[in-house]
């Protein structure tokens, strides 16, 4: 049984149908990427999974539990953490407070401290800036903070919304390296990206989303060689 199974999900913004029957699965231990252009519905898919948006129909099953009928704050407790688009750090709080809020739903102090050590090991920069206001961090550091904060929830499934946005290529590479490391340590990742090139390099499998529907579902390897993907998303003829 897959860790996450999204089946025929329709999500609306008012009367506008943003997701027109999206289905996808994420197996335990995988990195799955969702690529697509602007307005394809990538962010909407993530927000629907983590409960910030409610689907009008369809099911989202995490380990046998239907997330479509669970409130956003309870979904975190089930082991789903999101790194929002544009990073969404609490810019007026310190790095320490941001990380602390990531573990908001947890009460196991010892485990929280271990996770904090793990996050600070993954991102040594955050240790240096521990008492600094998050708004004064650089874009790359904010992305690290947002990722670290999500890891503080000790998720089984990590949802990443365009971690490469607005970052220099070298920083993107370093973030993706970290994601691979996080995945190696047992966290399943669903990664939304416009930077298809980078995403397909670290993912096991990928889905191509077009105007609210899944257009392609293949292994990352196959997608890299798919003529349509090469032309539209990788910019190679």
């Amino acid at each position: 049984m897959p860790l996450l199974e999204v089946r025929d999900v329709h999500t609306y913004y008012g009367n506008i149908e943003a997701l027109k029957g999206v289905s996808l699965t994420v197996e335990k231990g995988e990195i799955v990427t969702l690529i697509g252009g602007n307005g394809a519905g990538k962010t909407t898919t993530l927000r629907t999974i983590c409960g910030l948006l409610k689907p009008r129909s369809g099911t989202i099953v995490l380990d046998g539990k239907d997330l479509a009928r669970t409130k956003a704050h309870e979904i975190v407790n089930l082991g789903v953490a999101m790194v929002p688009e544009g990073r969404g750090v609490f810019s007026r709080l310190t790095v320490a407070e941001n990380l602390d809020l990531g573990a908001y739903t947890r009460t196991d102090r010892g485990a929280i401290r271990r996770d904090l050590e793990m996050v600070l090991r993954l991102f040594p920069r955050l240790k240096e800036r521990f008492r600094q206001i998050a708004g004064t961090l650089s874009g790359g550091e904010q992305q690290m903070l947002a990722t670290g904060r999500a890891l503080m929830a000790h998720p089984r499934l990590l949802l990443m919304d365009e971690p490469s946005m607005g970052l220099a290529p070298i920083l993107v590479e370093s973030i993706f390296d970290t994601l691979r490391e996080v995945n190696r340590e047992g966290t399943t990742i669903l990664l939304v990206e416009q930077n298809a090139h980078m995403a397909l390099q670290i993912a096991n499998r990928g889905y191509v989303l077009q105007t609210g529907q899944i257009a392609l579902a293949k292994s990352a390897e196959e997608l890299q060689h798919d003529p349509m993907v090469r032309k539209v998303y990788l910019g190679i003829d």
Binding site: C50, G51, L52, K71, A72, H73, E74, I75, V76, N77, A81, M82, P84, G88, F90, S91, R92, L93, T94, E97, D100, L101, G102, Y104, T105, F123, P124, R125, I133, G135, T136, S138, G139, G140, E141, M144, R149, A153, A168, I170, L171, S174, D177, T178
Partner: protein
């Protein structure tokens, strides 16, 4: 170089001219002169000139001010700045005076246009001389004042004793605050400090007369409400403009349940007190359920509406059988203590002090609790807060309920102390005042809210001397305070940190911050 000197001089000069002409036109100078004349046992004319002279000295020192990024100018340039400031302001003031005095001479009644410009105040300014002579004098006064002010200011900055003196001052300050700060860090030291503070608060009401007990009691009630609204606005970031609702719930609960009219229930004060606080909290939560789905500006407008609705409802003749309508509720019960009446302004002062201490304790605990962290997250970014697993609705309802309970407590004490409450106690100004207490004091800061309440409710009492200009000068003070300290009188450590870092971000950093990657990649 010269141009920048002239510009700085003109700036200070115009500031002085605006202040003086404004004071002149609204006739405030007679009042100010009276106050000084009383205080110094001097002639009113002399007093006025002393005040104007002081203003000119200040303008002169402003003109001579050296900004941080410029080299200190030479003496002639300092004098040039001061001269320009004095002359420009003098000309404006002199011409205004000349014009008004001439008009007055022609028999035009200036009071038709400027109500406060009485002949008496004109006499004060003209010094009993001809308009030309008076105008000339008022050109010379700022000029001399500015020059002297600049020389004094610069001389003071250069004085040889100044360095050691300021060092000695900070050493003295250190000697006082260091042991206190150290003492506060040890357990027994803290207990001792609290005990000292407690004794002071116990003895204070005894030493005060009724007037001051009443006035400070009102300040205390505003501290209560300020701390309550601070939870809602300062911590949870929900802009509530109808906070007066909960104050009204507290007041009317004690009123309706203890007064002979309209219901003749005559319950005991101590029984009603917790009921009223609880009821205010419940109403807070009930109001919150529909309202808290809104965000930001919409929330502010809807709460504003609720605030007005409650006043209109209480005033309505149709509901008079329930709430006594516009007549309000007289003869509200006061508390008794072991059978003895406990209702003097001094007794209420004690109750208010106790309530404030309780509320401070609770707020302090809440702030550092789990729900306190949830509030901060919601204030910063509600969507992300939800993604962190925070139940935003219940957290917000809790903030609303707690804030409402504090206001309800304030309402009970307020109504019972004056033994009367009516719909007009609950106008929009109460909500605005409480919000101002929070903002002026410093959002999210407990000492800030206390300072804010003292400034906003205490200062107007002190300013009573200024009579007709009380509200005017109060407004000017508020504006000045927000310009000088936008983060509030005593900002919370968080706000202070933000402001500092924001300021640091404005000026270019000394060393460029490298983009940072893992392992120091740049």
């Amino acid at each position: 170089m010269i141009a920048s000197d002239v510009r700085q001089g003109l700036r200070s000069g115009m500031l002085l001219a605006i202040v003086v002409v404004f004071l002149f036109l609204i006739g405030a100078t007679t009042t100010i002169a009276d106050i000084f004349a009383n205080a110094l046992k001097q002639d009113r004319g002399v007093s006025l000139q002393a005040v104007l002279g002081l203003l000119a000295l200040w303008a002169g020192s402003q003109a001579a001010k050296v900004s941080l990024d410029e080299k200190r100018p030479s003496w002639p340039r300092t004098l040039l700045r001061a001269g320009v400031a004095g002359l420009s302001s003098g000309l404006v003031i002199g011409l205004t005076l000349l014009l008004t005095l001439r008009l007055h001479e022609q028999g035009i009644n200036l009071r038709t246009y400027l109500y406060q410009l009485s002949p008496a105040s004109l006499d004060l300014w003209s010094l009993g001389r001809s308009p030309i002579a008076a105008a000339l004098f008022h050109v010379l006064l700022p000029l001399v004042g500015c020059l002297v002010g600049a020389v004094l200011a610069r001389g003071f900055r250069d004085a040889p004793w100044r360095g050691p003196a300021s060092r000695r001052m900070s050493a003295v300050r250190e000697a006082i605050t260091r042991p206190l700060a150290n003492a506060a860090r040890t357990r027994w030291g803290r207990i001792l400090l609290y005990a000292a503070l407690g004794t002071l608060l116990l003895l204070l009401p005894l030493r005060l007369n009724n007037y001051w007990n009443f006035t400070l009691g009102t300040v205390g009630i505003y501290v209560l409400m300020g701390l309550g609204l601070n939870v809602v606005v300062g911590l949870a970031g929900l802009l509530d403009l109808g906070y007066v609702v909960f104050f009204a719930v507290g007041s009317y609960t004690i009123g309706l349940l203890t007064a002979p009219t309209p219901h003749n229930l005559m319950w005991d004060f101590w029984i009603v007190l917790p009921i009223a606080v609880l009821l205010a909290a419940i109403i807070g939560v009930l109001l919150g359920v529909p309202v808290l789905r809104l965000r930001g500006d919409y929330l502010a407008i809807v709460t504003l509406g609720f605030g007005e609705i409650i006043r209109v409802l209480l005033k309505a003749e149709a509901l008079a059988s329930f709430s006594n309508g516009p007549r309000g509720i007289p003869s509200i019960a006061q508390p008794t203590l072991v059978g003895l009446p406990f209702g003097s302004d001094r007794d209420f002062m004690y109750m208010i002090i106790l309530s404030v201490m309780l509320v401070i304790f609770l707020t302090n605990r809440l702030q550092n609790s789990r729900v306190g962290r949830a509030w901060i997250a919601i204030r910063e970014d509600e969507t992300v807060a939800r993604a962190m697993g925070i139940n935003t609705l219940t957290s917000k309802l809790l903030a609303f309920g707690i804030g409402a309970a504090f206001a309800g407590l304030g309402g009970v004490l307020f109504a019972s102390r004056s033994q009367f409450t009516g719909p007009d106690d609950f106008n929009l100004m109460v909500s605005i005042n409480v919000l101002a207490v929070v903002i002026v004091g410093g959002m999210g800061s407990i000492p800030g809210v206390i300072a804010g309440a003292f400034v906003l409710k205490g200062l107007p009492e002190v300013l009573r001397e200024l009579d007709a200009y009380r509200i005017l000068s109060f407004g000017a003070l508020l504006v000045a305070m927000m310009v000088l300290r936008p983060e509030g009188l005593i900002p919370s450590t968080r706000r202070r940190l933000e402001m500092q870092e924001a300021r640091a971000a404005e000026s270019p950093p000394a060393t460029p911050v490298a983009p940072v990657g893992r392992g120091g990649a740049a």
